[in-house]
Amino acid sequence: MDRYDAIIIGAGHNGLVCAAYLAKNGQRVLVLEAAATAGGLGASREFHPGFRASIAHSVSHFSQAIADDLQLASFGFDPASDPIPTIGLGLDGNHIVIDGTKLLGAGSDDVAAYGRYCKSMHRFADVLKPFWLKTMPRIGSANFADLAAFGNIGLKLRRLGRKDMQEFLRVASLPARDLMDENFENEILKATLSWDGLLGAKMAPRSPNSAVLALLYRLSGEARGAHAIAAGGVNALISSLRGAAEAAGVRLRYNADVARILISESGDGLSATGVELRNGERVEADRVISSADPKTTFVNLVGVQYLDIGFTNRIRRLRCDGYVAKLHLALSELPLFDGLQQPDGRLIIAPDMDAIEFAFDDAKYGESPKNPVMEIVLPSLHDPSVAPDGQHVLSAHVMYVPLKLQGGWTDAARDQMCERTIDIIARYAPRIREQITGQEFLTPADIERQYRVTGGHWHHTEFAVDQMLMMRPTYGAAQYQTPVPGLFLCGAGSHPGGDLVGGAGHNAAQVILG
């Protein structure tokens, strides 16, 4: 039987990044993926004959440093692809177009305010920037490196200068709505700009404490929050990561569903020694690295009997309920949106912040939103291979769709939600219904089941202040190590978490390599 230095559970992008780094440093690495292909939520799959889509449909801040380290360009991924604009759709065809620091479609006051807003937000975001590819220090630790890291945070804040530091400490906890109201007039602009602070979260514009931080977090990425779809789409990123990993000597096995992590016990305590697959096969390794979400990892794969009760409770109480559904449409031709020449960009349908708030209000009681808000992308514009010639794929993140629908998710409930979503798109693209040749609607419950992600939550666990940084997923497991020696985390449930970033996989590899 083969013996490995490391087994990585899950071939999502973080798992692949971690695997590639370890293999490049001479480790023998096996990646076990339960699905038939790599990529996790970034994996491209056929939803209608000839049409393909992935849950993640754009890349906003995949690390250039990681791309360079792993030479992803030579495997077909270019993170420096031109950013795509974010377009807030207006019913009257008057849209707001945000292209980096350029703003079109808003009044002159808003344009001026947007300049100031970008400047200060970028300054604030820079405070968070150094955290991306760093293991967070441990609070209460007397370790010099940890203390120095905290000192560094303080220093960074101080360097902002008196006024900006004070403002940062105020703004960081603001609800998205207050930040927008303080700066702007145009309702579509406010809704569109707040979108990135809310997407994927159980938060609405009026929710304090985490949204602006999430926004700053995304702005602190190398692309300054701009979204891009590389040539070849998300798929290009996944296949380049797979290519890089395999070139480094990583062995990838598909349809290899890990049933549990093997743990040995001795007088010295526990250690992870390998995994057992659903078919009973056992594979041993010096360490096991899980890119699965924390609940799956600890409760299902490790088993609570190996964990302390308080720790288990902290994992159990992680807030992991997804609120984003996914709509995929197979279209016979390019859809036309009123007032848009080419639907090239991230199209946001959220007429104002109340619309977002009220959609959330339905979902928080377990009801499906009467007027969902959404982000639409046409991946086929960037990767023609996802649809037959001349035909197109529309991909939409639909908010807020509850994981736990009152009465449960039946086919009828799903269909109703799907039709309601299409109806709303049709208000902006009136001919869309005639163009649809196939469709798929995935609720968070579907995503949970199909992608093995607790709660169907993209970020594995809610991106809220108490589950971020050195608290992600929880203390005792926030530095990629876990209470079980030999077991590490490298998924979105770890810092920096969420989105197609690769930070968690990179940081975990650094910790493992020492």
Binding site: E265, G267, G269, Q305, D308, I309, T312, R316, G476, P483
Partner: protein, 398 residues
């Protein structure tokens, strides 16, 4: 809720034994335990204490919390919760256990009864529902039920306790060893008898359906009439348990989940209960912290003290010298022991000072005047009261 009694919601619950105990509590000396009306003493605390040491007495343990834990994962679940190896508890045996937070701080102590391979009863002094629920999370096949109100229990303690059970005609008690459980027929139902107790002497605990509680009481008192049976309350219990050097919550330890200031809770090692922590068994909650605590040595150690003179040292500070310049600990419980004729105490003392002299400054009152004196303490290794009969099987039939 609109019952005849507008205060029904606020009144204490009555134990199934209450009708008899009310008659015997001629001083109306009641306090409360876990929401039950509970006797502080019935006639005279010292008299009741001497019954426990000289004849026998009954102590109502209905308010004690009882949980049934069953299912294929029951053993694994308990084993991960408590520090002792539950696997080693055989069917029909009882084990004294403690359980801790992740940080190794003691949440509570109690006893685990193994009733079958997949069925246990856990008893403890304070409610434990929330912790049990947390402990059971993640185990597929385990059910936890609070059976406190479904099981009446009476502790029968003292040298003649065995004789009383014999007089009642309970066959099999003669072969029951300490920590054994017997299940005996009783009026078309069952009576569970465990050779357990909280007095350090020969004794049993009797477990029965609430419906049969008074019947059990009546038969016990009929049989015990010639053996000096007498109900005893909280006050006598506290005396007996101190002589046996058993710890008491809110005296020797502060339950970790109810401790506001972390320096105020304890580890099993500090409470001299290191023998209950088994590092060879499967993983348990707090293991890592306790291993570290064992390696480092506990900051405090619960110590048994024999103190000069006869003034009880309740609430006193312990010093390392007669001049009281170095404070090294504090007394948790103290009394004059009528049985061993000694001034005894349990004290938490900083471990590093245990090798040296120990002095205690005792404040006492004489006819409303306050006095203090500094006297020497001697450490005791064994409990103050350890009669051989407590361990003998069969026990002496007085």
């Amino acid at each position: 809720m609109n019952s005849a009694d507008p205060y029904a919601g606020e009144r204490l619950k009555l134990s199934p034994f209450h009708p008899r105990q009310r008659e015997l509590n001629i001083r109306d000396a009641w306090s409360a335990w876990n929401g039950y009306k509970f006797a502080d003493y019935y006639y005279d605390a010292e008299y009741e204490y001497f019954c426990v040491r000289n004849t026998c007495g009954t102590y109502d343990i209905c308010p004690m919390q009882k949980y049934e834990i069953r299912g294929n994962d029951a053993e694994a679940m308990l084993n991960r919760m408590v520090t002792r190896d539950v696997k080693k508890i055989k069917v029909n045996r009882v084990a004294y256990c403690v359980w801790c937070t992740d940080e190794g701080r003691m949440i509570d102590d109690g006893t685990i009864f193994r009733l079958a391979n997949d069925r246990f009863m856990l008893t403890c002094g304070s409610p434990c529902n929330a912790w049990l629920e947390k402990s059971a999370f993640g185990f597929d096949e385990v059910q936890v039920a609070d059976i406190t109100d479904r099981l009446a229990a009476l502790s029968l303690q003292g040298p003649t306790s065995f004789a009383v059970l014999q007089a009642m005609g309970l066959a099999g008690t003669e072969s029951a060893k300490p920590f054994d459980i017997l299940t005996l027929p009783f009026h078309d139902d069952t009576l569970m008898v465990s050779r357990t107790g909280f007095t350090g002497d020969l004794g049993y605990e009797l477990w029965i359906k609430p419906d049969l509680a008074l019947r059990l009481w009546d038969e016990l008192y009929a049989a015990g009439g010639d053996y000096g049976i007498q109900p005893y309350g909280e006050a006598a219990t506290n005396m007996a348990r101190l002589e046996a050097a058993f710890i008491m919550p809110a005296m020797e330890f502060n339950e970790a989940l109810r401790t506001v200031n972390f320096e105020h809770d304890q580890t099993p090692f500090e409470l001299n209960l290191g023998w209950l922590v088994d590092f060879k068994k499967p993983h348990f909650s707090g293991r890592r912290a306790l291993l570290e605590e064992k390696r480092r040595g506990p900051k405090y150690t619960l110590t048994k003290l024999d103190i000069e003179g006869n003034k009880p040292a309740d609430g006193s500070y312990i010093y390392s010298n007669r001049r009281c310049t170095q404070e090294v600990g504090y007394v948790t419980s103290a009394m004059w022991s009528p049985a061993v004729k000694a001034n005894i105490a349990l004290a938490m003392i900083e471990t590093k000072y245990l090798q040296g002299e120990l002095w205690v400054e005792i404040y006492y009152e004489k006819e409303l005047r306050q006095y203090s004196r500094v006297v020497k303490c001697t450490q005791k290794q064994k409990p103050f009261w350890t009669p051989a009969r407590a361990r003998a099987t069969p026990p002496p039939n007085y």
